[in-house]
């Protein structure tokens, strides 16, 4: 078949890119080879628009074992144990087919973690949906939540946290970002590298079918009116097979049979074989007649580009095939030797006795295009006046019952968040806390991003996302260690979008440096755009922290009437771009709050020290909705009231209550210990005031004597999502 310009365009390759292929091969590719390039050079696999910027992110720390570039990041938590984690997007498929799109997103990120030798111990999800009033939103929420639960629950890994917000910019492009955290032994980390000329290349897991062909290419293009016709490019998940694959892989990893291993994710057999060969500096020859197929008559093109789920590719040590086969047969999974490692540096495919493709691995991987896309900085935003509400209590009730701040119970009760019996802090807190099995240690895990901040000021928004994640881990008593990121943006060929990307990266990089919080893995999802309208820039941050001792785990629930409440961090009453401005004042305009990274670090380190050295009864970070919402959340969680005795001073009361100044925490300590806390804060140069006290009464009393029942707040808080989903 002659490769025409139309065929090239259908493969998502530009004329320049095709010219580059001709140059690299020194001949025209056949259709199978074009398919390989199409997948490997897609934005999704090649990071061609983002790579030049991603280099700016700090990726190293003494505790980092493996940074970006592998299936997942790896950090050291002592005692010979490592944490393996990553977050990944499944945005495009989830919009087209929400249940399967979200389910296979979970499946893919689980495999990224267990392929490195780790047992997954927690799943989180960062979800962004369109306006609740948009006709598709409810259906998408229902499908995505059911898909995540349907997959994770069956595999038996707890889904312990995440976030879910709504904004009209996601009407045509929802974001479904899934994060998995696993535990491995530091001396048994497995990498995705092919090595050892002559070693067998083994395929395990499910059979290959015609599903998901060109999924990676689909995920690298904007949506238009016809996107729903792409439903056949969405894969179908089978969590039961994933569970078997997980157990079989971990069982085989107890031995020394595996040289290298990688899951078959985006671009299936193409990317796994090419990337393993590239990392190992080797070649790979595959006999496609040996690939277990679900249906007859599949072409080499279809076999190589299928994104059928629950499959793995491994390179096995010589003479260990029989051992490996025994394990996979025990778990009733397909096991097939489909090729060999070579020293040719080429990916060679045979089918029905003939060579059907022969391409240098470097041409597919290292030689993929890299673009320095033009970009323009986002314009600065003028701050609007945000008027005071008529009734502070009513405003607070409206905020805690708003789409973005209401309880997510309806979601997390559909997730098994307790299986494995190590979930210490359940969903609903600042960070999930999961015990490291069989130890007294625990991991704190959180995902964070405030897209409206990133839209208004990408650099500040990028820094804030990292800082808030760090703060959430700190608030439960953990020492933050590292992050994974999931960069969700619009069309990178638009300079404004590239400007948002560049700004977010710069802000993130600054925060990561200031907080010693490196990036160890990540994922970029571009073209989250429909008919020229992009999503708000959404660099979702997934952070992991360590608690050396479970006894230090701190929750946000108020504990004891009579205790003192202290506010840590400086309050300037920044209202523009806040949840209050959006929900109560009806404006999204204005700059986000400044992020003072030195203060962030100082305040957080102080709070963590207080938790460890002196013990605090409750701790909560201040974020959306500011002081008033944070206090309301603590009161609702503890079923206790509180009285604010401090006064706003020169600030307007609504700015003091609802402003979103960064780097702040609310903590509860016994009344007799409050003065000591304030003295230590002063010594540390940390702003701190005595805010008020915990009450046994069911009410929050705000300055000026206005009070509101905690039960009424809870009713508003719990009501919105079930009512929206038609179950109120």
């Amino acid at each position: 078949m002659r490769i025409t310009p139309e065929i090239v365009a259908d493969h998502g390759l530009s004329a320049d890119e095709f010219a580059r292929i001709l140059h690299l091969l020194d001949r025209a590719p056949n259709l199978t080879e074009l398919g390989l390039f199409s997948a490997m050079w897609s934005e999704h696999c090649s990071y061609k628009s983002s790579r030049v910027w991603l280099r700016e992110l700090p990726t190293e720390a003494p505790w980092v074992i493996c940074g970006p570039g592998e299936n997942a990041g790896v950090i050291d938590i002592g005692d010979g144990q490592a944490v393996v984690f990553k977050m990944e997007s499944h945005n495009h498929p989830s919009f087209i087919e929400p249940y399967q799109g979200a389910a296979t997103g979970v499946g893919g990120i689980l495999r990224d973690v267990f392929t490195m030798g780790a047992r997954p111990i927690a799943i989180l999800n960062a979800l962004r949906f369109g306006d609740p009033a948009h006709p598709k939103t409810r259906h998408l929420v229902a499908g995505v939540v059911a898909g995540i639960g349907g997959y994770g629950n069956c595999v038996g890994v707890p889904t312990v946290g995440g976030e879910c917000t709504f904004h009209t910019s996601y009407d045509g492009n929802i974001l479904v970002n899934a994060m998995t955290v696993g535990i491995a032994r530091t001396d048994r980390i497995f990498y995705a590298r092919a090595g050892g000329v002559g070693n067998p290349v083994v395929y395990v897991g499910s059979k290959t079918g015609r599903d998901g062909i060109h999924g990676a290419t689909m995920a690298s293009a904007e949506f238009d009116q016809r996107s729903e016709e792409r439903r056949p490019t969405v894969q179908v998940g089978d969590p039961f097979t994933e569970k078997l694959l997980l157990e079989a892989c971990l069982e085989l990893m107890e031995s020394d049979a595996i040289v290298g291993i990688q899951d078959l994710g985006a671009a299936g057999l193409t990317s796994s074989s090419a990337e393993m060969a590239a990392r190992g500096g080797a070649g790979i020859e595959l006999d496609l007649d040996q690939v277990p197929l679900r249906e007859r008559g599949m072409s080499p093109y279809e076999i190589m580009l299928s994104e059928s789920q629950e499959r793995m590719l491994m390179v096995i040590r010589p003479g260990r095939e029989a051992d490996a086969r025994r394990v996979f047969e025990k778990w009733e999974l397909d096991f097939a030797v489909i090729g060999r490692v070579t020293d040719s540096g080429h990916l060679v495919l045979r089918h029905a006795g003939a060579v059907v493709a022969d391409v240098p691995v470097a041409a597919l991987v290292e030689e993929a295009p890299r673009y320095q896309r033009p970009w323009v900085p986002s314009p600065p935003q003028a701050a609007p006046e945000i008027a005071a509400p008529a009734d502070m209590a009513a405003a607070l009730r409206a905020l805690v019952g708003s789409p973005d701040l209401s309880s997510r119970r309806w979601i997390w009760e559909q997730y098994d968040h307790m299986v494995m019996a190590d979930t210490v802090q359940h969903p609903g807190g600042d960070a999930a806390v999961v015990r490291v099995h069989g130890t007294g240690k625990a991991l704190a895990i959180a995902t964070d991003c405030t897209p409206r901040y990133c839209a208004a000021d990408p650099e500040r928004g990028g820094a804030q996302a990292v800082a808030e994640c760090w703060r959430n881990l700190t608030a439960v008593g953990a020492r933050p260690l590292a992050i994974t990121d999931c960069m969700n943006f619009g069309n990178p060929e638009r300079p404004e979008v590239m400007g948002q990307f560049a700004g977010c990266i710069r802000g993130m990089a600054a925060a990561c440096r200031a907080l010693d919080f490196p990036v160890v893995s990540g994922n970029v999802s571009l073209y989250n755009e429909t008919s020229g309208k992009g999503v708000q820039p959404t660099p979702a941050i997934g952070g992991v922290g360590l608690l050396d001792d479970l006894r230090h785990v701190t929750t946000l629930a108020l504990k004891h009437p009579g205790d003192a409440l202290a506010l840590i961090g400086a309050t300037a009453g920044h209202l523009p771009c806040s949840a209050f401005a959006r929900t109560i004042a009806g404006t999204e305009a204005g700059p986000p709050p400044p992020v003072d990274l030195a203060a962030e670090r100082r305040n957080g380190d102080f709070v963590r020290r207080e938790i460890h050295d002196h013990g605090v009864a409750a701790c909560h970070d201040l974020a959306d909705g500011g002081l008033a919402v944070a206090l309301a959340e603590m009161a609702m969680a503890g079923s206790l009231g509180a009285t604010i005795t401090a006064t706003p001073g020169a600030l307007p009361l609504h700015a003091w209550l609802f402003g979103e100044d960064q780097g702040r925490y609310l903590i509860e300590v016994p009344a007799g210990r409050a003065q000591g806390l304030l003295a230590r804060a002063a010594m540390a140069g940390v702003p701190a005031i005595l805010l008020g006290r915990v009450e046994s009464l069911d009410s929050l009393t705000l300055p000026g004597g206005c009070s509101i029942s905690v039960a009424a707040l809870r009713t508003a808080h719990e009501a919105w999502l079930p009512a929206y989903m038609g179950e109120g």
Partner: protein, 229 residues
């Protein structure tokens, strides 16, 4: 007490219940693969939670025909007690060890949360360390926990005191609001006629130590230890 835990493909609470058994008894249970022909000589057989065979066809239906189940049924006929939790309960009803069936939840959604249960009787090897009427808090996590049986079976369960646990409110009333899945008569767990099999949807192994946030499930394992040594 020597226990074994049957592991089906897709079981995922096998480790959790093994940990709870070890903490209660000081001994590791034997993990038995579903394709084994025989359960070892033990004092207790556990059918754990999870998604055996992915819950495909019908939850518990395929596992009920696993090779090991014939041996489990034989051992129970000879008197070996069986503790069947969640998916294990579904397997036990499909295998005929217990009457009735677990249907999809009335609201058609998976549900994972703490529920309050009323212990209906302490007259069993599984519940002797509870008191009858005691209200306990133990988590559930299932999609198919909606217990159904015909009226004659339900009456027999009630008349013979074979209901082990009922979903109830904080005051011990088995109210409609306290029923998380639509189960008839708020049934959360039942015994076989000779009380050698307990099937229950809640997960006592997830409320067995302080780190779980509750320890009301521990008494179930302590009861077994007291009865079986």
């Amino acid at each position: 007490m020597r226990a074994c835990v049957v592991v089906f493909p897709g079981s995922n609470c096998d480790r959790d219940v093994a940990v709870a058994l070890r903490q209660a008894t000081g001994a590791d249970p034997v993990m038995v693969w579903h394709r084994d022909a025989d359960v070892p000589a033990v004092d207790l057989i556990v059918l754990p939670g999870g998604f055996s065979y992915g819950d495909y066809l019908r939850s518990g239906a395929m596992a009920a025909h696993s090779p090991i189940m014939r041996s489990v049924i034989d051992a129970n006929r000879r008197g070996t007690p069986v503790l069947a939790i969640c998916n294990g309960f579904q397997v036990a009803t499909e295998a005929g060890l217990l009457p009735g069936v677990l249907m999809p939840n009335a609201h058609q959604k998976f549900v994972c949360r703490d529920v309050t249960l009323r212990v209906e009787t302490s007259q069993s090897i599984f519940t002797s360390r509870y008191t009858a009427g005691q209200v306990v808090r133990i988590p559930i996590a299932h999609h198919d926990g909606n217990y159904h049986a015909d009226a004659a079976t339900l009456n027999a369960l009630d008349d013979q005191g074979l209901v082990a646990f009922r979903y109830c409110d904080a005051d011990g009333r088995p109210s409609l609001d306290a029923n998380p899945n639509g189960a008839q008569r708020n049934i959360a767990g039942i015994f076989s006629r000779d009380r050698t099999v307990l099937g229950l949807m809640p997960h006592p192994e997830r409320a067995a130590e302080p780190a779980h946030g509750g320890t009301d499930g521990r008494a179930l394992f302590d009861s077994l230890l007291a009865a079986l040594g």
